[in-house]
Amino acid sequence: MWETLIEALANFIHSSGLYWLVDNFSDMGYKNLIMIIVSLTLMYLAIKKGYEPLLLLPISFGMLLVNLPITFIMDGAMTQIPLPDGTMFEFAGTKLEAAATFAADGPETVAYILSQAKEIPGGLLYYLYYGNKLGIFPPLIFMGVGVLTDFGPLLANPKSFLLGAAAQFGIFLAFFGALMLGEFFPEYFAFGPKEGAAIAIIGGADGPTAIYTAIKLAPHLLGPIAVAAYSYMSLVPIIQPPIMRLLTTKEERKIKMKQLRPVSHTEKILFPIVVTILVIMILPTTAPLIGMLMFGNLIKVSGVTEKLAEVASNAMMYMITIFLGITVGATTSAEAFLNFETLGILILGLVAFSFGTASGVLLAKLMNKLSKTQINPLIGAAGVSAVPMAARVVQKVGQEEDKSNFLLMHAMGPNVAGVIGSAVAAGVFLSLFLTA
């Protein structure tokens, strides 16, 4: 009896994650441990420092779950095939996939697999991840963003669109950078045009757009890209102000802008419809992102579907945020995250972000020189979406010079134009490389 008990205990210990960690420490275990520490650090930043907690907390928790040893929470289905000699053959995939793989061995083999093999379902997050894999979650989040976005300031000052476009320069610069890394250091960075495009979109400072593009073009880099995108978005108040101050003079930062004209209800209703038709006609690949963003906005501004707007921007958006966050976090397994590529992504993301900010400010400076009405160049920085954080940063930097200067509403124009701009940039990449 004792022997059985001790054997059961030994089996139990052998099947524990802790045993695996100790047993495989020098091989894989230490990487898992590093990732667990990274996830705990992100959790600390989300909870204690309030860095984008709505997404960083689910992402970091997903990261923790997938890096705890042998949870198989992100693994797909497994098929166990009993062989005639009594041993068990394990096939990574469903029963049908196993049958298809061994179809060449003849119909008897297929029949044997289908009748004898046992399929073990995949992990929880593996299935939830389908919402990302199939490109469903990011556009749904965009719908909620659409409800929460007020395009009024943009309608009142259509020139803001130029600033939203200029701030996308950073994306293309980072794209170039990624191609360069892939060309000159191929042993460290396996970056082709698809990977480069997915990484560069981080500069759009728009979580759902970055995730959507990564899923479509470089799903193997989704984890690091999402983590980089959300980390930099939460660091907007730290990254942007020095660049803004560097590129503007004290006098320019003090410029007070003319009050925006009031925007009518009809204009607000027409805007999402017109943008949907125009943008999707030109770039059909933007249909999921722009379509959902504008639909969300329309159900709010129409004034006849309040309940829909409420659900899309509250219950539904939070639900999807949970699924999206935790499954994106689950893509950051140790082997997918702890490599030079992640480092490259973090650097390129920062390049994209900084240059986006700079190009926005520079174009705003130019517009100020050419325009009859004065434009405060600071509002150009808000062109890198990151709504509404980037606009708030503009307001703050503006008020450092002049307490009575209120730039927030003026910055909201380029800010929401940036959302459309980065979705268009993503659409361009998708149309160039999706089928390539």
Binding site: L154, L155, P158, K159, S160, F161, L162, G164, A165, Q168, F169, I171, F172, F175, F176, L179, M180, G182, E183, P193, G196, A197, R261, S264, T266, E267, L270, F271, V274, V275, L278, V279, I282, L283, A417, I420, G421, V424, A425, G427, V428, F429, L432
Partner: protein
């Protein structure tokens, strides 16, 4: 030119060009939006002018009923009073009458003056 460089340049020119083209196009269309209300107002004025043209009233024994164009509530109250008065003079109840249209006649040409 190296292949990666060419690819990068093509994508960049294409991308920057498309982003600017699309956003400038939207900006141009949106800048026309400010005229919408002006068009709306002129349309409203036109339709308002049409509405003030006389429209003959209904079954109420050729009675011309005038109404003020103040607020909707005032109008409803006035209609109720007038209908009640007509009903009383015709010795019937107000639900037997149907009001189809109202218009205000120039005060110097009221029914009283016509008599």
């Amino acid at each position: 030119m190296a292949e990666w460089l060419e690819e990068g340049l093509v994508a960049t020119i294409n991308g920057v060009g498309t982003v600017f083209f699309v956003l400038i196009l939207i900006a141009m269309v949106i800048s026309l939006f400010k005229y919408i209300d002006k068009i709306n107002i002129s349309n409203l004025l036109k339709s308002a002018v049409k509405k003030t043209e006389p429209v003959e009233t209904s079954q109420t024994n050729d009675l011309m009923i005038s109404t003020s164009k103040t607020s909707q509530e005032d109008e409803a109250e006035l209609i109720a009073v007038i209908v009640a008065a007509i009903a009383a003079s015709l010795e019937t109840s107000s639900d037997q009458l149907q009001v189809r249209s109202f218009r205000r006649i120039n005060p110097t040409h009221t029914l009283w003056n016509r008599r």
